[in-house]
């Protein structure tokens, strides 16, 4: 239930509901500081189970977001569209939350901070912005952190069920590129693909194969202290936090995978590394940010990627019928 604060009656109804149940993962709640923790923990089950993001900005209203939009949160944990009722995030709330996330060790997440996010236990990713410090033209550090965006990761077992039958041909895996805008479930689908291909499934004619995940941004396997927090399968090796262009070569040399899965390729180096892998006879499943065929064809690097005949199948996702909706699938000869 969401409060429309123009109606006092609705707000009163909401205040009287049972807020004792909260579906947010413990790994998220335990990394929130003091007041923020109690407010977010007060959000009722119905809303908390759908939460996708918790947004904190210093001296701004506390916000959460789900698939239907964003909401302010008041001091009782009630979602509202009226920002005047919202709890205002203090500097202490934000800095102490970040301290908790880094285990009192800001230096330990420095490398992640300069990429704009940190990954906490459970695979939840926390976006961070502030003042960027440069050294020799490269980002060296981030200070005066002013906003956090906690993106709640939820494994969806079976998310790739619909897709997997399209990318198998006579039990052989096809090299596949998934094109998807943000928030349309491409990472969730890649993760479930990794799990299903790795574990195998006789009923679907999938034999377990050795999968190598190159997880540059710790999103697919969501490793925390080296341990994958998501189920990515029995035969899966994860190279965590490594730039894709290097990681793909490392994985190829070190673990002899049959399939390499990686997320959000984009640079020329990534594409060169993928070409090498394909020439070595290893299958590739990967994704790229995009809004469909025309969008990709308008972007020179990505157009080359598609026209270069590296991939057998190209899948476009959207969230028209919820995240993970398959919009269209092209074969190589349809490009």
């Amino acid at each position: 239930m969401i409060a429309n604060t123009s109606s006092k009656k609705i707000s009163d109804d909401l205040r009287s509901r049972d807020n004792t149940v909260n579906a947010l993962p413990e790994a998220v709640r335990s990394n929130l500081y003091g007041r923020i923790k109690s407010i977010i923990s007060s959000i009722g089950y119905e809303e908390s189970v759908r939460l996708e993001e918790i947004r904190m900005k210093i001296e701004k209203p506390l916000m959460v977001a789900n698939s239907s939009g964003d909401y302010f949160v008041n001091a009782s944990g009630i979602l509202t569209k009226n920002y005047r009722e919202a709890y205002i995030v203090s500097e202490d709330d934000l800095t102490k939350t970040l301290e908790l996330m880094s285990d009192s060790s800001v230096y330990a997440v420095q490398d992640e901070l300069i990429n704009g996010y940190i990954t906490i236990r459970g695979g939840h990713r926390v976006g961070v912005v502030g003042k960027v410090l440069l050294r020799n033209g490269s980002i060296y550090n981030l200070k005066n952190i002013s906003s956090l965006n906690i993106r709640i990761a939820r494994e969806v077992i079976g998310a790739a069920d619909k897709l997997i039958e399209h990318i198998l041909r006579d039990e052989n895996l096809q090299n596949t590129l998934i094109i998807s805008p943000p928030q349309c479930g491409k990472t969730t689908i890649l993760r479930d693909l990794a799990r299903q291909l790795s574990n195998g499934n006789d009923s679907k004619g999938i034999k377990g194969v050795k999968v190598g995940i190159v997880d540059e941004r710790s999103e697919l396997a969501a490793c925390f202290k080296g341990v994958a927090q998501n189920d990515v399968g029995l035969r899966t090796d994860v190279l965590d936090g490594c730039p894709k262009a290097y990681g793909i070569y490392m994985m190829l040399r070190s673990m002899s995978p049959e399939v390499i899965i990686t997320d959000e390729i984009g640079t020329k180096e990534d594409i060169m590394a993928l070409s090498t892998v394909l020439n070595a006879g290893v299958k590739v499943i990967t994704s790229v940010h995009g809004y469909g065929r025309q969008d990709i064809l308008n972007r020179p690097d990505l157009r080359d990627l598609i026209m270069g005949n590296l991939f057998d199948k190209i899948v476009v996702l959207s969230n028209i019928n919820g995240p993970g909706t398959i919009e269209e699938i092209w074969e190589r000869n349809e490009l």
Partner: protein, 173 residues
């Protein structure tokens, strides 16, 4: 007569032990400072090479030091696991503030370590390593001072204990 001999021996043993007890404090201070230096060097390598968060680094210190200094670090980890709202470095600083006399550290030694801990974990790697170099330099000065005091006073207190006992026996006899 036998009672006098036994009494005299007991007086001499007691005063000697008292003198030994006083002298050992100088040795313990010296040893404690060196152990803190070792602990900080373990933390330095954990930060510099592995980027380990402090709870992990503190556990490595506990495993690397077989002494009550290592126990401080383990206690800090255990307290932090129950209450993550406090910085683990500050938990350790509080423990040292409250119990530093057990390790025979002097106030100046303790202040150096506590000041270091107040900065630990709160900034980037370069700052952490600067902070570590600074505290190691200051602890080296404390160590030199402790060594001089140890050499000067350790034997003195042992001898004084024995001689005081003998003097007491002579006076009483």
């Amino acid at each position: 007569m036998i009672l006098k001999v036994i009494g005299s021996i007991m007086i001499i043993i007691s005063s000697s032990l008292y003198g030994y007890g006083l002298s050992i404090r100088f040795e313990n201070r010296f040893r404690s400072i060196r152990e803190f230096q070792t602990a900080i060097k373990i933390i330095e390598s954990e930060i510099s090479f592995l980027h380990s968060p402090l709870p992990e680094a503190f556990e490595k210190v506990y495993r690397g030091l077989d002494s009550n200094i290592g126990e401080f670090f383990l206690q800090a980890v255990n307290i932090y696991k129950k209450d993550r709202y406090q910085s683990i470095a500050l938990i350790l600083a509080n423990l040292i503030n409250n119990k530093y006399k057990d390790s025979n550290l002097k106030r100046e030694d303790k202040d150096t370590i506590v000041t270091f801990l107040s900065q630990l974990g709160s900034s980037d790697i370069d700052n952490q390593l600067n902070n570590i170099n600074h505290v190691l330099h200051k602890l080296k000065l404390c160590e030199n001072n402790a060594l001089i005091e140890k050499e000067k006073n350790s034997k003195l207190f042992k001898s004084l204990g024995l001689l005081t006992g003998i003097l007491l026996v002579i006076i009483l006899l």
